[in-house]
Each structure stands twice: as structure tokens, then as C-alpha cells.
């Protein structure tokens, strides 16, 4: 029924398979190019040696020509002669002013690398997309990758070293660091304690190893609020040593997730989402069956065929039952098959095709049970492979934050270096870590912002942004990728590697450190492999091999602990879908990004089921007091359909006190309630309403489809036949003899992950309007994702529907605009011409999809507007009083058309990719020429699942949807299309 889509294979998608010439460049390739040599030979002293045009000079050149990149201001230029024409002293080789360059590099999240391509206009990075060659991306992205470029230009980032609250020069700072290194090299590092974020960077690991040798007495600690050791504890229990699971969802026929969100968040989720989507549409394979047992709704759960909303302890119970039933095929006790029995049955039938995925927040026992089941099913090395830990940072107790706290308590810490992270904010509340840092005589914090930790440390050094620095990162599957700067450092700053290098006295800059690392690895192959690795951003064949497991004995879990007393006392912590662990708190794109389920923006809330809330006498918006062990926080309540009873979910990362102008004092901070013993689930919390209310800001206020034909769902088996009404219209049809652009969105593949929304915002200069304006109902997103609940409130079906402009064939907006500002193009686009718009807004009145946005104020100039530097020069920056909307990325179409014209050929299918399409990890969005029977979008429209939104209105949208395929429900493997 489905599956004609040829998507999933990234190389086809970007038209840049390894066979073809690469889309993107490496700086060194540019720097080492012929032009540069010629410069070197030229008669100008400062260009005497080729070395003088290094990356930095090159980037300087490109950045200098930034003015030509067209920082399109909001109004026509004031002075009569327009902006000046800048004549550069020298052009960067292979760089044509105004023509973007694309660089491959790696970004980090939770210490793991994700390969990206950065599009840079005249030395100005403006857009990030996935690297099709990188296993953790396959060309797809998530919201954090997309938004990283805005953080680069964050005006609130730290720019100068600080000491005791005073601004210091870099000379002072480096002097201090040098003193440290001398002092500790003298005493072998006694009294030196270093706190790092766990990070899978070979170079960092090498430097740490070096430092451990040169400073044997120094103590090393690793802390990140979201990466605790549970995974390794669990694998150690089952396999005897810590391992990391790497999933292969292409092979999985039956999947059981115990908490977590493998498709939506966490290690490798972009890849997993892509694999799962591809498997769903592999015609020759049966539909995979996905069971999700989870406490709070996740994207995976929303996608699941059968979702169970269970509080943590019941998840554990379920896991134990399933393990037993999988182990001994004894007939289940209960005559009516218990759910556990059904799941176990499915898993047994699936055998090696079965897979159990534990969430990182699950107790070590639960995770261990999950791995045990995988072993039992023989799924190891089929649907899941276990590899040696990707993040080298040892996770034993001696290097935990707890240990550091004790050390400080004992007073043995003379000097504390905190290289990255923000423990004063995100350490578990019971440690009182901010106070502890204060007790350390000499402390230094390296960070991107002058944040909570920087304020309590003696010294603060500004850190470089990932897009400004060299480095290397290993992905969730061990594949290593290089990180290269794509812009000159916008401020003088250091990386953690720089500091470590200084400590061990290794000379050179980040570039040298990374090269040193890979020289060790590659030996004499280095010169041959480095350039390609740098250009690809990926080091081929560096994926971690499956660990050889000594035939694991049938590990059985310890007996379950005493049952927790039932009651509304279980608080579960989760990373926030918008600001993650709090590091993105000052990022306007992410703050204004509606969270997938609540559609809340600029804040967070404590999610609970309606029964729980009513039992507590709470309603959405009420502020409640949560108390545990003398620690108290206040949080507004959000009644979440599909949330497990007897539990409350709090997302971390909000309530920042020193995040910056946009991020501070938003939402509530859940870290103080967190306990260093139980990081994820806290029992015995007392909850009391305190009578106050909080105005929670959300972009969607009605959650049902009111029985309307909005999101269509078709049965997994059997044909689809919808009635076809005749089309009638009083106006003659347009004829399209050239291209006719159209888009198809597959609701069966869409996970609701929001990547497309941020991608659209980044690509099209969509303004950030701020919480007050969103509360007013004025968010500007060109592409929104509607979320509907269907079925019973306790266990609803959740549907996501991305809604861009429909580019109607019979567009209602066109006929009502008095000034012809929005018109129909000869390629069927519904074009919006901002400079003609007078702002009657009647087009929005007449748009049944309500996709049109209006600039009520001069949003691009008033805070929290994105800085000019991040604006895409290819797209007009809109000004006050004009309507705007999705254009199908018409500037990309223009670019492709111009390229085609200049090469005297038609535009190829797949040559034009919209920003949302490019960002989508599951390739749910297909765009192209619907006149071309060979185009992917044409095939999508021919698909029987294809339908038009609000078809009755006869607007004939160019954007069509592919109906979602109904879940298989429970029981009996199988179900084919």
C-alpha cells in the first residue's frame, strides 16, 4: 500500500552520494588550494609563505566580506546611494562572495557526536543541517542541532575572563592558568580536582590520559545531569562489564520500550527514527510492532502500536513479568491473557527479531532486565549490538559528582577546575553544590555563559562555541567525526582541550591537538586520510565493533524491593524537549518552540494525569508545592492526557537564574528536588496546592478534532478507498507547462519531533516574538505542528500534523487581497510579496488553514529578536505591518532555477529541498514537481493514502498528506500492508 518513497537513503536525497563530488568543503582544502599558493608567491610580504593564509586568515577574509552577504535590514536603505560596495583586499580562494560554502563538522549532545553540515554565507554560519554521511544523522536533524547556530551569535555569551566578579584581561587569565600548570606539575597535581562533562572525544581522552600521567595526584570527576552510570551498571550486571547498546531498528519486528524515547530523544535517536521509518515502509517486511510502557508521553509512545501509561514501579513489574514469561514458556497464570503475557508472546514469536529498549531514566534493575530479555531472545548482534563504552569517562563512584562533593567536604580540594557544564545549577539539590564550590580556595569555570557556576567560581573563562573550535567526537555507535571551525572566533575564548593541553604543557592550538590525536591513530596514513576525514566530517569505518560477550549466563534480577506505597508521591524527572538540561535556556528559537505534547512555550510545568490532579484538587495552571526531604520547590501543574497515574513528570532545564536575558527566570527549576541517590524517580514527595496560579503559555488550546476530517487514519491491512467527489469551480484552472511544485507529508512517518519547525525558522528568518506576544496568540512559525488527541483521555491516541502553507490551487487568500500582494505563480506557488503588503490581514481571514502570520510589531528589531548575523541573506527580513507565510522555500527554488538556467538544463527531482524536508529525520516530507511522473512527490500523491486537508472547501492544496497507518494494537505478530 505504501512504500514507493525512495527516501531514507541520504545520498539520494542530497544528490551527493560518496560517488559524486561532495557538496561541502573543508577549510584546509581551501587553505591549501592553488589560489593560496599563488598568493603566497605574490609580491606582498605578508603573503610570503603559504602558511600565512591559514584557516584563520581565510575565515577572516570571508567574514570581512560579510557586508556583501547582505545583512538585509528591515527597511530600504536610508542614504540616497544605498549601502556601499565593499571591495575586499583579497578574495578567499574558491569563495565567491554571496555564494554559500558548506562545511562538515560535529556537534555534541550528552557527550556524543552528531555530524552536521553548516552552511556559511561569506564566513557567517546561518544554517545547520544533518550530515548524510554521519551515522548519527543520515542527513536528519533534531531541534538542538538546528538551533545551535543561534547560540553561536548569542549576545549574552561570555566574552571576557572574570575573576571575583571583575573583568580581567586574557593576559591575566592565561597567566593564572600557566601558574596552575607550573604549580601542579611541581607537586604532581596534589590538591587539583578537575570536573568535566563526560564526552566521547578522542582528543580530550588523550589529553586526560596524558594529564593522568603527568599529574598522577590530580583527581578527575565527570558530571552531566542527564548521563548517569545506570546504563553501564545494568550492562555490567548482565554482561560482567559496562557496555553500550546500539540498536538496529531495521531488523526489529517487535519492540518493547521501557520508558525512554529512542525515537525522539537520547543517544542516536535521529538515526533510530530514520531506521524505524525506513523499516515501516520496507514493502517486503512486515510492519514492526512497537509496545511502549512509559510514565509520561514520549514521541516513541505516541508512535507506538500499543502504549501503556505506567508509573515507574509498574514498569519494573511489567519488565519482570515479561522476562519470566520469555524465559519459561509456562502458560501465563491469568486465564485472560495479561498484557505482559501478550508482549512476551510477541517477543518470543519474534525471537531474534525482538528487542527491548530501556530508557536511561529507568532503574539499573529494569535496564538489566531489558538486556537480559534481549539475550534470552537471541536478539544480541541482530536487533541490538553491545559495544565497549563510547564515552571513555569512567563512571565508577570515585569519579561521580557525589565523590567530588565529599572531597570538598573533607577539605582536600585546593583547586577545582570545572571545564564545561553548570553543576551549580544542575547538580542534585541535596548536594548544595553551589555552596560547596564556594568553599574551594581556588576554582575556575570554563563556560559559554557567565552562568550560575561561573558566579560562584573564583575564575571564569569564556568557552568557545562548537562552531568556532577544533575537536573530534564519537557518535552513539562509536563512529568518530572531526569538528572544524566554520567561522573565526567571534570572541577570544578557550576550549576544555586548550585548558587541559596547557595543564600538561602540550603546545599548539586545537588544530594541533586534534591532528596529534589522529596521527597516533593513523600513523603514516595520516596525511592521506586527514583531508577526506575533514571534508566528510566522518572517519570512515570507525564505528565500534560488537563487543565479544562471553556467552552471558542467564542472569536473573534480584527480588523486587518492597512495593512503594501507592499515592501521588512519585516524581519523575525528564530532559526538557526545548531546553534539554538547561544549556539551551537562552536560545530564543527553542524557548519559543511549542513542546510536542503540551505545546507550551517559554516555560515548563509539572505534568500529571487528570485523575491524579483531581485527587489533589489541582487544575492546569495551579501552582503546587513539592516537598521531599526538606527540599521544596513550587511548580505549575499541567494536566497531561496519557500520563501515568500516581506520578508527576518534571522537565529539567528551566528556572535558570543566570542563563541570559532570554533564559533567566522562565519556568521552574526541578533540580533542587533531585536527589543524588535517585536521580530520575523520587518517591515520597508531598504535593500541596498553594492557591496561586501561573499563566502557562501554549500555542494550542483545543486538542480534539471535533469529529472533523483532519488527520486521517487507515487500517494497517486492507485497501483504502475514499469517495472521490467531482471538482467544481467557477474560475478556470491554471495551466502549468513548466514545474508545478508540491509537497507531501507522510503522517505515518511524522514523529512530531519539531525539527522541521526550527529548520524553517532558521532558514526563513522567522522572528522570535517572546512570551507575551505568544500568549497574545501571535507566534510567527510558518510551519506549525498541530497535535490532536483522540480516544479516551487517560490513554489517548496522539496525532501530529505539520501544517505549512497549502499553496492552494484555488487560493482563497489571493482573491481578497486588495493590493495583489499575494498572487498565484506560474509554478502554482502562492506567492507572498512583502514589499507590496499593506497589512489588511484579510488574507488570514480567508485562509481556512490559518497558516498566515502577521508582523504586529517590528519583531525583527525588538528583543528577543535573533541577531542580524544569523539572518539568511537569501530571504527578505520582514518588517512591521506585513503578512508572511510559508513560501515552499522559494529562494531555494530560485537558486535551483538559476543554476539550471545557467547550465541549460531542467531542474532535477530532489534538487530543490525545502528546509523542513531537509531537516526531517524520517523523511516524512517530500517536495518536488508534481508535473513530473518520475518525481518522488508525484508518487506520493498517487499513493492511495494521499489526501487533502479540508478537501470539501475545494481549495485544492498543493500540500497533501499521507494518512497515518493505524497501530497494530496488541497480540499476534504480523500485519502487512
Amino acid at each position: 500500500m505504501t512504500g514507493e518513497e525512495d527516501d531514507g537513503r541520504p545520498s539520494d536525497v542530497t544528490g551527493s552520494g560518496p560517488c559524486e563530488t561532495r557538496l561541502w568543503r573543508s577549510l584546509e582544502e581551501l587553505a591549501g588550494s592553488e589560489e593560496v599558493r599563488r598568493f603566497g608567491g605574490a609580491e606582498f610580504p605578508e603573503a610570503a609563505t603559504p602558511e600565512t593564509i591559514d584557516r584563520r586568515a581565510l575565515l577572516n577574509l570571508m567574514t570581512a566580506s560579510l557586508a556583501l552577504g547582505g545583512l538585509t535590514g528591515c527597511a530600504v536603505n536610508r542614504q540616497p546611494w544605498g549601502a556601499p560596495l565593499l571591495a575586499q583586499p583579497r578574495l578567499a580562494p574558491q569563495h565567491t562572495p554571496g555564494v554559500p560554502l558548506i562545511f562538515a563538522t560535529s556537534l555534541e549532545l550528552d557527550g556524543l557526536g552528531r555530524g552536521v553540515l553548516v552552511r556559511s554565507h561569506d564566513g557567517r554560519p546561518v544554517k545547520i543541517d544533518g550530515n548524510p554521511l554521519h551515522p548519527a544523522s543520515l542527513g536528519g536533524t533534531d531541534v538542538f542541532m538546528q538551533a545551535e547556530v543561534l547560540s553561536l551569535y548569542d549576545p549574552d555569551r561570555s566574552t571576557v575572563p572574570m575573576a571575583g566578579g571583575m573583568r580581567r584581561s586574557w593576559d591575566d587569565a592565561s597567566l593564572y592558568v600557566t601558574q596552575l600548570s607550573h604549580q601542579f606539575q611541581a607537586n604532581a597535581g596534589r590538591g587539583l580536582h578537575i570536573l568535566l562533562e563526560p564526552c566521547a572525544s578522542p582528543t580530550r581522552d588523550r589529553l586526560i590520559a596524558l594529564a593522568r600521567q603527568t599529574l598522577p595526584e590530580a583527581r578527575w570527576y565527570f558530571h552531566a545531569p542527564l548521563t548517569d552510570g545506570n546504563t553501564h551498571v545494568a550492562t555490567a550486571r548482565v554482561f560482567g562489564r559496562p557496555l553500550d547498546p546500539v540498536l538496529d531498528l531495521m531488523q526489529a519486528d517487535v519492540i518493547l520500550t521501557l520508558g525512554g524515547d529512542p525515537l525522539g530523544a537520547g543517544a542516536g535517536h535521529i538515526r533510530y527514527a530514520a531506521d524505524y521509518a525506513q523499516r515501516r515502509h520496507a514493502r517486503d517486511r512486515p510492519l514492526p510492532r512497537l509496545y511502549s510502557a512509559e510514565t509520561s508521553p514520549s514521541l516513541t509512545g505516541a508512535r507506538a502500536d500499543h502504549r501503556l501509561a505506567l508509573p515507574p514501579r509498574e514498569i519494573e513489574a511489567l519488565a519482570r513479568q515479561v522476562l519470566d514469561l520469555v524465559r519459561n514458556a509456562a502458560p501465563p497464570p491469568a486465564a485472560p491473557q495479561s498484557l505482559a503475557a501478550i508482549i512476551a508472546g510477541d517477543l518470543r514469536r519474534a525471537g531474534a527479531g525482538g528487542l527491548v529498549v530501556p530508557g536511561r531514566e529507568q532503574a539499573a534493575d529494569v535496564q538489566a532486565i531489558a538486556h537480559a530479555i534481549n539475550v534470552e531472545l537471541g536478539a544480541v548482534n541482530r536487533t541490538v549490538r553491545y559495544v565497549e563504552p563510547i564515552i571513555q569517562a569512567s563512571t565508577d563512584q570515585s569519579s561521580s559528582l557525589l565523590a567530588l562533593a565529599e572531597a570538598i567536604g573533607r577539605g582536600v580540594v585546593d583547586t577545582l577546575l570545572i571545564l564545561g557544564g553548570n553543576p551549580a545549577y544542575d547538580a542534585p539539590g541535596d548536594l548544595e553544590f553551589a555552596d560547596l564550590i564556594g568553599r574551594v580556595p581556588s576554582s575556575l569555570h570554563l563556560s559559554y555563559y557567565f552562568d550560575e557556576t561561573s558566579r560562584v567560581c573564583r575564575w571564569h573563562l569564556p568557552a568557545r562555541h562548537a562552531l568556532e573550535s577544533w575537536g573530534d567526537l564519537r557518535a552513539f555507535d562509536g563512529t568518530a567525526g572531526l569538528r572544524q571551525p566554520v567561522t573565526v572566533p567571534l570572541v577570544e575564548a578557550m576550549t576544555a582541550e586548550d585548558v587541559l593541553a596547557q595543564l600538561v604543557g602540550e603546545a599548539g592550538d586545537g588544530h594541533a591537538h586534534v591532528q596529534a590525536t589522529w596521527r597516533e591513530v593513523w600513523g603514516e596514513e595520516f596525511d592521506a586520510r586527514w583531508p577526506t576525514a575533514l571534508e566528510d566530517g566522518v572517519i570512515a569505518g570507525s564505528a565500534a565493533p560488537a563487543a565479544s560477550l562471553a556467552a552471558p549466563v542467564g542472569w536473573s534480577p534480584p527480588p523486587a524491593g518492597p512495593p512503594v506505597a501507592a499515592g501521588y508521591s512519585m516524581v519523575v524527572f525528564a530532559p526538557d524537549p526545548s531546553v534539554w538540561d538547561g544549556r539551551f535556556a537562552n536560545n530564543g528559537w527553542l524557548q519559543e518552540l511549542p513542546k510536542p505534547f503540551t505545546k507550551q512555550v517559554w516555560g515548563n510545568a509539572a505534568l500529571m494525569a487528570s485523575d491524579t490532579a483531581s485527587a489533589l484538587g489541582l487544575a492546569t495552571g495551579d501552582i503546587a508545592t513539592f516537598t521531599h526531604g526538606g527540599r521544596t520547590i513550587e511548580a505549575p501543574i499541567w494536566i497531561m492526557p496519557g500520563h501515568a497515574p500516581d506520578a508527576v513528570t518534571m522537565t529539567l532545564g528551566y528556572g535558570r537564574r543566570a542563563a541570559g536575558r532570554q533564559g533567566s527566570q522562565r519556568g521552574f527549576d526541578a533540580y533542587p528536588l533531585r536527589s543524588s541517590r535517585e536521580l530520575w524517580a523520587l518517591a515520597g514527595v508531598t504535593i500541596a496546592a498553594n492557591g496561586r496560579r501561573d499563566a502557562l503559555i501554549s500555542t494550542q488550546h483545543h486538542h480534539g478534532m471535533e469529529g472533523r476530517d483532519i488527520v486521517r487514519v487507515v487500517p494497517a491491512t486492507g485497501p483504502v478507498n475514499w469517495p472521490v467527489e467531482p471538482r467544481r469551480s467557477m474560475y478556470p484552472d491554471y495551466v502549468y507547462d513548466g514545474n508545478a511544485w508540491g509537497m507531501s507529508i507522510d503522517l505515518d512517518l511524522c514523529l512530531g519531533c519539531n525539527a522541521c519547525v526550527v529548520a524553517c525558522q532558521a532558514e526563513n528568518n522567522v522572528p522570535i516574538v517572546g512570551p507575551d506576544e505568544v500568549a497574545q496568540g501571535r507566534e510567527m512559525h510558518w510551519l506549525r505542528i498541530d497535535r490532536y488527541f483522540a480516544g479516551v483521555p487517560d490513554a489517548p491516541e496522539t496525532y501530529f500534523q505539520p501544517v505549512p502553507c497549502m499553496h492552494c490551487e484555488k487560493a482563497p487568500c489571493e482573491v481578497v487581497c486588495p493590493v495583489n500582494a499575494t498572487v498565484h505563480s506560474s509554478e502554482g506557488l502562492n506567492e507572498m510579496t512583502y514589499n507590496r503588503c499593506v497589512g489588511t490581514r484579510t488574507c488570514s481571514n480567508n485562509c481556512p488553514y490559518k497558516v498566515r502570520r502577521f508582523n504586529w510589531f517590528n519583531y525583527n528589531q525588538k528583543p528577543p529578536a535573533a541577531p542580524d548575523a544569523v539572518q539568511n541573506p537569501e530571504v527578505t527580513v520582514r518588517w512591521r505591518g506585513v503578512v508572511e507565510k510559508c513560501t515552499y522555500c522559494v529562494h531555494r527554488i530560485s537558486t535551483a532555477r538559476i543554476a539550471a538556467k545557467m547550465e541549460g538544463r531542467p531542474i532535477r527531482d530532489g534538487e530543490v529541498m525545502t528546509a523542513c524536508q531537509q531537516a526531517c529525520p524520517t523523511r516524512a516530507i517530500v517536495f518536488g514537481n508534481i508535473n513530473d511522473p518520475d518525481s518522488a512527490v508525484y508518487r506520493c500523491r498517487e499513493n492511495p493514502r494521499s489526501y487533502e486537508l479540508l478537501k470539501d472547501l475545494n481549495t485544492r492544496p498543493r500540500t497533501t498528506y499521507l494518512a497515518r497507518i493505524a497501530g497494530l494494537g496488541r497480540g499476534s505478530v504480523g500485519g502487512t500492508r
Binding site: L61, G82, P84, P89, P97, V99, G738, S825, S826, S894
Partner: protein
Amino acid sequence: MVQLFRPQADTAFRLWVIASAVVVIIVLGAGYIYVRSDAFWRVGATAPMQPIPFRHDLHVAGVGIACAFCHSTAERAAHAGMPTAHACLTCHSQILQGATVMEPLRTSAALGTPIAWTSVTRLPNFAYFHHGVHIRSGVTCETCHGRVDQMRETEKVHTMSMAWCLDCHRNPAPNAVRTEPEGSAVEGSRDSLKVSEIFAAPLTNCSVCHR
């Protein structure tokens, strides 16, 4: 009672009415003409102050340098491109090297700072123009920029109003002599409208220039 108005008052009044009508018509007509005039669009005006008194006539007509030598990206990119200081210095490191008028050039080369030329033909920010595709479609430099080779001071020779753009976008044939590249899908055609029909949208779509 005493006569308030003289007998001619009626005539005067009528004349006044007619006169005011005429004035209105004249004002409107004048406005219509003015917004189409060269003065309004600064045609023929030259930039008041350029960092260097550069003379196209000497370089193009005199020395015989081709446009694309200095404006090197005009044939392939949106921006025509301004000559780099190093490009200028290929000659001017010998010729006129000591001249004070060349000071900005030397400064630029030495300090790596760009030279800010005053732009004579500048489109508003919401209009996107691509030099390359126009040249590729057979629009010559002088079609829009005039006989720069005869200009002592560079001046604007066309209004560059939207109407002026549209004249050609509606009927490119007179100004666009398109020759197809080797192995192109279509045979050479004088009428680039036909070409654009084959390859792309008609040139009058708003999104051709406004994004």
C-alpha cells in the same frame, strides 16, 4: 442692504472653481511625470565622493580591460563583485604606485580592510538580482549599465525602477541573445522567453525577484 459681492463675483467664483480643478490636474500630471523622470531615479547622477577617483573610460576604453576582469564574479554569481585591492595592485604596484590617490588601495592591501566604494546602482533589499543568470541569458553589461567605457565618472543610465525591469522581463527578446551551451536540452534560441518557458517560470512571477 449694501451689496455684499460685486456683480463679477459669480464669474470670479466659477473661474476659481475651474482654476482649482486645473491646478489639481496639473499637480497630478506633474507627479506622474516626476516619478518617471530621470531626476527622481537619479539617472545621470554620479556618486559624490569615491575613495579613489577611478575612471572606467581610462581602464576599459584606454587600457582595454574587460568588465569581467575586475567584476570577476558577474558571470557566475549574484554579485558582480568588486575588484580586490590585490587585483588592482597587479598593475598599480608599478603604475602610479606613489600617487596619493592610490592611498586607500595601499591601506586596504596593507591592513586587509575593504575599500568602501559608493554604489551608483543599488536595488532595495527586497529585490534579489542575479548578475550571472542575466549575462547567461545574453543580457550584456551595457544593457543595464550603459557605455561605462565612455564614462569619466560612473553614472546611472537607467531608472532601474520596477517598471524598467518589467519591460524586459515581459519581453526579453530584444535584450537577451541567448546561446545554448554544448549538449544543452534545447537548440539555441533568440527568444529567451521561450527558453524560460522550457526551463523555468515566466519572468514576471513575483518570486523571480522578491523572496
